[in-house]
Amino acid sequence: MPRAVRGVLIECDPSVKAIILKYDEERHDYIVEDLDDDRHLVIKESQLQNLKYRLGKELDDKVMQPDESESE
């Protein structure tokens, strides 16, 4: 019997997906369904803002950015 589940489809890079999976392992409170390819998963609607915030913060800390010099 087919079912429909409410959620938010997340499309992202494999690296980002790995991070989301890691978050979910803590308390299993993010993921509704892992869609078994590298780039997609369905998460709970209520967690979207929280997830975006956590991701933004973590990646800003970890990803290196080249310095932009104000001179030419």
């Binding site: 019997m1 087919p2 959620g7 938010v8 489809l9 499309e11 992202c12 975006k52």
Partner: protein, 479 residues
């Protein structure tokens, strides 16, 4: 030019059928909808059916369209249906048929061939030609008022050059009610929607404001249908002519006063016996969007008086492949818009230089501006030299718009945005637990056809849709 799906269309589509019935009583409304909202094919259908007394069998009408263009045909028919112009009926011998709905057909026939009652298109005022307000003055008035509205939103007063263009309290309240600005501690702050708004072209902006106005009309005790049909009336008036106010109702007079604040109509004073529509009003429902260029041009032009210039000569921004930006403008409004996403460097009397950097784009995106908005703003206002330079290698981007900007810059702005938005989130519904592949395939294909499918996997027998009602109904119907 086919009218693209637009905000006014979306708004109209959401109205109940009874509202359409009232709206279509006015020939000016019927004509305006016909001119502005319909794709060419839909216009053909309406014209062909307009003078038919009996419904036309659906097969006959559908036979006019080549089999290769069925998509266009269905699109045209669906738009006509959604605007309550075409109705499905049956002929006397029970064949499915189309016919143009009644108040619309009567009104459009009246608009085309004239009728005794002509008030629907305004009544010309009899005034001596020497005391009439000339068109350049009307343009100047419209430009000043509209730039005043935009300037109020982006807070150009910070640059010290903008005098308030006499914005009334009603205008400010409307902008607030539409969530385009917020007032915090008596200071005006622009919202995300506001940013999207100021970067749009002028005719889209005017429609946006007018729809906000119609929506708020009920709250201040006016009939929104009456206001809406008055707007369509205004749009059918002729630029440079003045019109009588005598035969307007009190609500229409009130609307007229409010629209004067936006520069959409001009009147000498509220006691004047006649009014002039400005270019902002007369291009509202015109089919060609280029007509609004003189206004857009004078809005963006370096001195604000270049409206006499050629249509192509309205852009003023040059971007080089090294992300440096030169803007030939002295308009405080344009400067503060450019400053939203550029690191400014030097400012000369008629020239502004700056650089698009990762930080400046990130700052803009954090404020809620999207990369696409920035790109569309830059290409709308690209300098004629950039168009000339790129015309030789006119490549089209995904959206089909010939790109006038250096591709590196466009791509990089998008990449900088992606860096911020690492995930793309689509709320919706996941369908799963299908027993067999055949059971999965039919609803999946159906979801794709009605355009709600976002993701599917044959292997897992799951698919994701943005709306579930129709798919669920489809599943039930197959039981």
């Amino acid at each position: 030019m086919a009218a693209a799906p637009s905000r006014p269309f979306d708004y109209l589509e959401g109205l109940p059928g009874t509202v359409f019935f009232k709206l279509y009583q006015q020939p000016s409304t019927a004509l305006a909808i016909f001119r502005r909202m319909l794709p060419d094919l839909a216009k053909c259908f309406v014209m062909a059916l307009l003078y038919l007394k009996d419904p036309l069998p659906a097969g006959d009408l559908e036979g006019w369209v080549k089999s290769g263009s069925i998509k266009e045909r269905d699109n045209a028919l669906s738009i006509l249906g959604r605007l309550h112009i075409l109705s499905n009926t049956v002929t006397s011998d029970n064949v499915r048929a189309y016919m143009v709905t009644n108040p619309f057909s009567t009104s459009l026939r009246q608009a085309l061939t004239g009728a005794e009652q002509t008030q629907s298109f305004g009544v010309l005022a009899q005034i001596p030609p020497q005391s009439a307000v000339p068109i350049p003055e009307l343009d100047e008035y419209a430009r000043r008022q509209w730039e005043g509205v935009l300037g109020y939103m982006v807070g150009t007063s910070g640059l010290g050059a903008q005098r308030e263009a006499g914005l009334s309290k009603g205008v400010k309240q409307l902008l607030q009610a539409g969530h385009l600005v917020e007032v915090r501690d008596r200071r005006v702050e622009i919202t995300q929607d506001g940013f999207a708004f100021v970067l749009q072209d002028v005719s889209t902006q005017v429609w946006h404001i007018l729809i906000l106005y119609v929506e708020s009309a009920e709250a201040i005790g006016m009939d929104s249908v009456e206001v809406l049909s008055f707007l369509f009336l205004l749009s059918s008036l002729e630029l440079g002519k003045s019109y009588e106010k005598r035969n307007l109702t009190s609500n229409q007079l009130r609307t007229l006063t409010d629209l004067t604040d936006f520069g959409i109509v001009y009147q000498d004073s509220t006691e004047a016996t006649h009014f002039y529509p400005t270019r902002l009003a007369t291009t509202l429902t015109s089919d060609s969007s280029t007509l609004s260029n003189p206004i857009a041009g004078s809005l963006t032009g370096p001195t604000g008086t270049s409206s006499g210039g050629s249509k192509a000569g309205t852009g003023f921004i040059i971007i080089e492949t090294n992300y440096r930006l030169y803007a030939y403008t002295s308009s405080p409004l344009q400067i503060s818009l450019i400053a939203l996403f550029t690191t400014l460097k030097y400012r000369f009397p008629n020239l502004l230089t700056g650089k698009i950097t990762r930080q400046s784009i990130r700052r803009a995106i954090e404020m809620g501006i999207t990369a696409d908005q920035i790109i569309s703003y830059l290409s709308t206002h690209a300098h004629p030299q950039m168009r000339k330079h790129n015309a030789s290698r006119a490549t089209s981007n995904q959206a089909g718009i010939p790109s006038v900007l250096p591709p590196t810059v466009v791509d990089q702005i998008r990449l900088w945005q992606l860096e911020r938005d690492r995930v793309k989130a689509t709320p919706g519904f996941l369908f799963k637990d299908f027993v067999s592949l055949t059971e999965y395939e039919a609803p999946c294909r159906y979801a794709e056809e009605i355009g709600v499918l976002v993701w599917k996997s044959h292997k897992k027998r799951m698919f994701f849709v943005t709306r579930h009602e129709q798919v669920a109904a489809f599943l039930r119907s197959r039981k």
